[in-house]
């Protein structure tokens, strides 16, 4: 207890030195917090966009569908499976989908496209497809030959709202599938390059088109929080307990994006490492200064009978106290900075479009990670760099130490 008292009071005894070191640690903590907040904000937005635009947080398919998609790999009784999915905690909604490649004709224009059959009611609760309709209407709930296309596709097929598109494909029974659809909605913005080869029709229209009685190729699931994806994936596997159905988190479905994100985050670790080293050198410098200035005092303490290990602890306590105070200040500053960037953000010089969504601002996010990780980095760095000076102080020879200063 007496050592804690000495260590704590020593911080205020050397006010200038403590202030400078504390500022460095608090500044480091705040910047780390802002950095993590920005990373979490940026990737959080991207993940939300990717998952809520289309992918969902978790998807169900028949085994091997993702690697080798086939119109024949259908989930039987998707409604019954959906009801079981809904019973799992943190599941917010789900939507069945049917996919088929097709040739699209409009007038003299033709192109190969991916046709997605969706349940409009479920889809509008699961993804943002409905809100992305920038022109016209979303697919109505009754089965009609309505089709929603992207702006890109309107350019390719030279077709607009009210125009007709003929789709030709292969039915699940081997027959030639063909039908005529009317364009009722357009997704995305003009000039957007997103989804030049994708269109949406009603799931029942898709089943009729493909001569399917029931079934779906995919069930997309949205959770209340994307950070729970892995945990809920496991819960769903246990709940469904069906070896023929694979339950895949978005990290697997969007593997290319996830790998790119991980690579970027790995790159960030080097930046964090360099920044940590700068802070560590600063703290080490201060602790060495403490050692130099207090050599005589440590000599006296040892002469009075203080054990070497107690001297060691005294140095670590002093650094730890300073680090804790700095972390409190730094965390408050970091949260304040993240809040500001969350509310105001940084406006991009030119808007960035991804997947039909336009990003105009880089925003931050206040997360547990943006508060705890910087605190842990600063505290552990400060304590670790103090170990060597503390060992040196513990080994001080009293008679030599008391001659100094």
């Amino acid at each position: 207890m007496i050592l804690l008292k000495i260590a704590f009071r020593n911080i205020f005894r050397h006010k200038r030195r403590s202030f400078l070191t504390g500022m460095m640690m608090a500044g480091g903590c705040a910047l780390f917090g802002l950095f993590f907040g920005m990373v979490d904000g940026t990737y959080g937005n991207l993940i939300e966009m990717i998952t809520k635009n289309h992918t969902g947080h978790i998807q169900l398919h028949m085994n091997d569908y993702l690697d080798k998609p086939s119109i024949y790999k259908t989930i039987k009784a998707p409604e019954a499976i959906g009801a079981r999915v809904e019973s799992v905690s943190h599941v917010q909604s789900w939507a069945p989908r049917i996919y088929t490649p097709a040739l699209a004709f409009a007038g003299k224009k033709t192109t190969g496209i991916k046709v997605v059959g969706i349940d409009p009611a479920r889809e509008s609760h699961t993804t943002r497809i409905k809100s992305r309709v920038s022109k016209g209407e979303f697919i109505s709930s009754s089965e009609q030959n309505e089709i929603i296309i992207t702006h890109g596709l309107t350019r390719v097929l030279k077709v607009d709202l009210g125009g007709e598109i003929a789709l030709i494909s292969q039915g699940i029974d081997g027959s030639i599938a063909n039908n005529l659809f009317t364009v009722t909605g357009i997704i995305g913005n003009e000039g957007s390059s997103f989804g030049e080869s994708i269109c949406y029709i009603h799931i029942d229209a898709a089943r009729e088109f493909m001569s399917m009685e029931s079934g779906a190729h995919e069930i997309a699931i949205i959770l209340d929080d994307h950070s729970r994806t892995k945990m809920v994936t496991k819960l769903l596997k246990d709940e469904l307990n069906n070896p023929e159905i694979s339950v895949e988190p978005w990290q697997v479905v969007e593997a290319a994006f996830y790998r790119a994100m991980q690579a970027d985050l790995k790159g960030n670790r080097y930046s964090i490492g360099v920044f940590t080293i700068i802070i560590a050198v600063g703290v080490l410098n201060t602790v060495l200064m403490v050692l130099l200035e207090s050599t005589r005092e440590f000599g006296v303490l040892k002469a009075l009978g203080t054990r070497p290990f107690h001297i060691f602890k005294l140095i670590l306590y002093e650094t730890a106290f300073l680090a804790i105070i700095s972390i409190v200040v730094g965390t408050i500053a970091g949260v304040a900075a993240n809040w500001w960037f969350l509310v105001h953000g940084i406006t991009y010089p030119t808007p960035i479009e991804y997947g039909g969504y336009v990003f105009t601002k880089l925003t931050s996010k206040i997360t547990a990670r943006s508060m705890t990780t910087p605190a842990l980095i600063i505290f552990s760095t400060a304590v670790m760099v103090s170990i060597w000076p503390a060992v040196r102080a513990a080994r001080i020879i009293p008679v030599k130490a008391m001659r100094s200063g």
Binding site: V300, G305, T306
Partner: protein
Amino acid sequence: MSDAIMEIEKVSKIYDTDGMEVHALRELSLGIKAGEFTAIAGPSGSGKTTLLNIISGLDTPTSGTVTLSGKLISEMKGSELSDFRRDRIGFIFQSYNLIPVLSVKENIEYIMLLQGVSEHERRSRVTSILNQVGLEGMETRLPRQLSGGQQQRVAVARAIVTKPDIILADEPTANLDSVTASTLLDIMHELNQTSGITFVFSTHDSMIMEKARRLVLLRDGSIDKDETRS
């Protein structure tokens, strides 16, 4: 068998200074009896401080042995030596060496806290010792709020409060004016007389030499004169 609490047997200390050997102590032998009020005097460089450092375990002899209360100090190391100093030896330094961030009370309590003395016992001893050294009412003051004489009284209180076997005082009056030094010396002398605490001083101060019942004069690392007064 000797009745001395401290036995110094043929202690030599040789320093290597820039390749030159300096003999600070030359096979010096000395016994200190319990309750003695001993002054070790001598000119600068005679080996007074070196002798005090060696007998307190702060420095190690090149050869010879130092025994305090039957324990061989010269062979102790690390925590064992720290604990021995904490429990058996009291120090009074020329420049007081109080812990600047601790109050008077906390400075006096410091060693007792390391020893694990109970709070009740600590409080009782601190109250008593503050009375003995005349520092009542100054418990909460920090060292920087005290005069040199008051700081040295705190140092005396800190040294004796743990009831060590011996108090080693290195030039305790050197930084004090003559009146303050005389008062402080009277306090230590009275503690010696009433409590039987053993004091060993390293000093230049004629007042201490006059008051000491035993005077050991060093010259060139050896005892030149050792006289006991009645």
